[in-house]
Amino acid sequence: MSITDIQLEENLAHHDDHHDDHHEQSFISKYIFSTDHKMIAKQFLITGIMWAVIGGGLSIIFRLQLGFPGADLSWLKPILGEWIDAEGSIDPEFYLALVTMHGTIMVFFVLTAGLSGTFSNFLIPLQIGARDMASGFMNMLSYWMFFLSSAIMFISLFLETGPAAGGWTVYPPLSILSDAIQGSGGGMTLWLVSMVFFIASTLLGGINYIATVINMRTKGMSFSRLPLTVWAFFITAVIGLLSFPVLVAAALLLVFDRSFGTSFYLSEIFIGGEALPNIGGSPILYQHLFWFLGHPEVYIVILPALGITSEIIATNSRKPIFGYRAMIGSMLAIAFLSFIVWAHHMFVSGLNPFLGSIFMFLTLIIAVPSAVKAFNYITTLWRGNIVFTPAMLFSIGLVSFFISGGLTGIFLGNSALDINLHDTYFVVAHFHLVMGSASFFGLMAGVYHWFPKMFGRMMDKTMGYIHFWLTFVGVYLVFFPLHYIGIAGFPRRYYAFTNFDAFSTFGDLNTFVSIAAIVTFAAQFLFLFNFFNSIFRGRKAPENPWNSNTLEWTTPRNPGHGNWPGPIPTVYRWAYDYSKPGSDSDFIPQHIPLSQTPESNFPHEEELAKSEVISEDNGAHESH
């Protein structure tokens, strides 16, 4: 979308009486209340990027506190105001608010809405061959619910009592009692309201994705020919649809306890000099409800990234993805198992140890399909002909993080070992690698790969490379050392470690981690520049810059409303016919009939090719 395009649109909007093409829209219906899936995807992406800057920025502030304890941070006063005290240190309660908001923003606003919202919206219709989502209006509502939710969460950052500060999991009673922490006052109320809108947004989106994938696939696009991206988005949407409503239930009960004097989560509490009347509730109930969403949520975050990676690795290795069916099978297995492992977050919560045993077994089963996926990626690279686009680099980085972070899950899923590791920096290192960074790299890979189709222009490669290497090395330098700190028993969410003899030895390492985090964060501005600059000034993209097989690359440079100017292409093959033996070209797109590629067809495909001709004749007759 170049500046001239926008100006053109504005001019057109002024001359409404002249337009003879019904696709031309006013600025508002094109860019704001758009029902076009591509525009909604861009809205999600740009909102997600803004949240990523805020969420990342918050982490830099608390890394300053951890890496340079006692440093004079009064230069942050213009941003943080009263949260910086007279000596220039961060208020300990605000520190907790920073940690809480960093988690909430990153998990929900960046890696759920920013990732699924962007790529499910953008790619599902384009890759299955549909003109738009099943319901464009619901899709628009989905974005605006997210926007409303974002606005409320953003406002909560500026409350006098601060935003929610009880950790992103907002465990009661801490999140109920504003006597216990002031963030549990207005900040927590806004957090809950915001999350309810967020969940509504996710559900509206999810229903749409599922309906679209089931009903609107183009001719020939059977489930066994769907690109793995679409499989991943589809499964993600199903997981979200089943798990997010439970979070609403948990939040609703929390609202009742906070405002209407019920005792779902409260029992036998003495605070602020008085005994509360609440009896019989259980804080553990909340943890069960929360993690029933919370654990599937980590797969909601990582599966789309894995889908994107599957597509990018296959395309740039010029090779079919290894084990297409195994990839789908492992995603289905992960999706199913993700619902029955939640209590591994609660091994030391006072849970019945027998339940702990059951959840340990189920948890370690989920490692098997994850391992299969990692091996399949590596085998896809084997004997490939690899093109290192920035998207490919980010995908390889994702696989590296997925392995490094996934392996430490084997420690944490083992309840006996979890006793000593629970809530330490080992956990922080684990999920930041396997879920945070891996999923973030999936998002980046997706942006670099599909930018040409989104904006009709190319991003700068060299800057992409520099961005990748700084970020990749940076992420490892930030999160790898945290394992060591975690093994030593450092607890999470500590404002400072100076009170403890056992933890005082890691000052230098914490400084190192903080510096690495600052450099990594700074490197993201390179991306921001590249992204926004390329939208307007990037070089014009060819229709299919990566020589890829999927249907989105058959659309024009700037696909309009309805995606294909002519009829929707029919699909004749799976998405991974790269370097097929016998073919001159190293890729055969999905819309090329088998009958046109007799030189590369396998014997069973020859049979299909014959029936193809007949059905095409039928199609021709129908259209007359």
Binding site: P92, R318, L381, A416, L417, D423, Y465, A502, S579
Partner: protein, 359 residues
């Protein structure tokens, strides 16, 4: 002035970088690298992959075995901790092997199979045998790890031995209190509504088992004897975390929890072992609980059992230290309470006098 110079310098640097960026872009256009199928620096990226792999593995080994390992491994001081640490390191060996092996494959393949115009990638969509192998091997390895973990978990979370010392751990914003059962070996009841400035744990003096209970703000433990911690919280969730004992359990308001273990090294033993004469065991709060979460700690003192018993005997019951609470004891238990809490006569008279005056 100095700030102004910094700002100007930053602006200049950004301008220079941007100019370089524009120039390289233009050169790229002139060279026509947008028409080539493969980025011109494909090879560089492949080399960087290998460089990263080599430096990364070197860094991993250097940091893990380069003499720094003492700083991140807390010495073990409990019986079950030896077992969990053993399996921790077994798991570490297995996962480190897989970690290094797969990263070598990932970056090695990336380098080896970098784009070459004269080669065609091999069409290799699946291989059932391979896939079964790498489903089965992780499944077997994980099964071994899980079963061993499960056995240890059962031992740790199973019932405490009969002869375990019972101690109540009480977490509140922001500190810990410990209640010992006194001579009768039984902890008395509690009632959160009885909490006040003095009776911070809400000891319910209606229960005769509570009369000899005493309270400490440090956790004294006997070496070589099992201890059963009965854990509660006053306000929000806390977590009793003792890294040296590899022990952790949440303290939940309204839901008493427990954890038992056996300390194997006294504080003095640890001072000898670590060579740190100042060494102290610390009990840490490990569940976010509010403003001073990071300062919520207690000192643990492990003594030889004889010394522990002596210390235990020397402690005064809560009731003895706070005789005014005798008024909360039901009339029929008052005499028993006076005896079991070792309240002396003059104190009784005083307290009875107080109680009377309060009526």
């Amino acid at each position: 002035m100095f700030e102004l110079i910094i700002v100007v310098a930053v602006v200049l640097i950004i301008a220079i970088v941007y100019t370089i960026f524009r120039v390289t872009t233009l050169i790229g256009i002139a060279k026509g690298d947008s028409t080539s199928k493969v980025p011109s620096n494909n090879k560089t990226q492949a080399m960087l992959m290998v460089l990263f792999l080599v430096l990364g593995i070197f860094g991993f080994f250097y940091y893990s075995f380069g003499g720094l390992e003492d700083s991140f491994i807390q010495p073990i001081a409990s019986k079950h901790g030896v077992k969990t640490d053993f399996w921790f390191w077994i798991t570490m060996a297995v996962t480190s092997f897989v970690f290094i092996f797969t990263q070598i494959l990932l970056f090695g393949f990336s380098y080896k199979y970098q784009y070459d115009e004269n080669r065609k990638a091999s069409f290799y969509p699946h291989n059932n045998k391979l896939e079964i192998i790498w489903t089965a091997i992780p499944a077997v390895v994980l099964a071994i790890l899980v079963i061993s973990g499960w056995k240890i978990w059962q031992d740790i979370t199973g019932p405490a031995p009969e002869d375990a010392y019972e101690i109540e751990v009480f977490g509140y914003q922001y500190g810990w209190s410990f209640r010992y059962p006194g001579r009768d070996g039984k902890l008395g009841d509690y009632d959160y509504k009885k909490i006040d400035d003095t009776n911070q744990l809400g000891i319910d003096l209606k229960d005769r088992a509570s009369h000899d209970d005493f309270v400490s703000n440090q956790l004294y433990l006997p070496k070589g004897k099992p201890v059963l911690l009965k854990i509660r919280a006053r306000d929000v969730i806390h977590s009793v975390y003792m890294p040296h004992f590899r022990a952790q359990m949440n303290a939940v308001p309204g839901l008493p929890t427990k954890f038992w273990f056996e300390p194997t090294k006294s504080t003095d033993d640890m001072r000898t072992e670590t060579g740190n004469p100042e060494f102290k065991y610390e009990l840490v709060c490990n569940k976010i609980c509010g403003r001073s979460h990071f300062g919520m700690k207690a000192i643990i003192i492990v003594e030889e059992e004889e010394d522990f018993k002596t210390w235990f005997k020397d402690q005064d019951a809560f009731l003895k230290l706070n005789p005014e609470y005798l008024s909360q004891v039901p009339d029929d238990l008052k005499e028993v309470a006076i005896i079991s809490s070792e309240l002396e006569n003059n104190e009784i008279n005083q307290s009875v006098g107080n109680t009377n005056s309060s009526f």
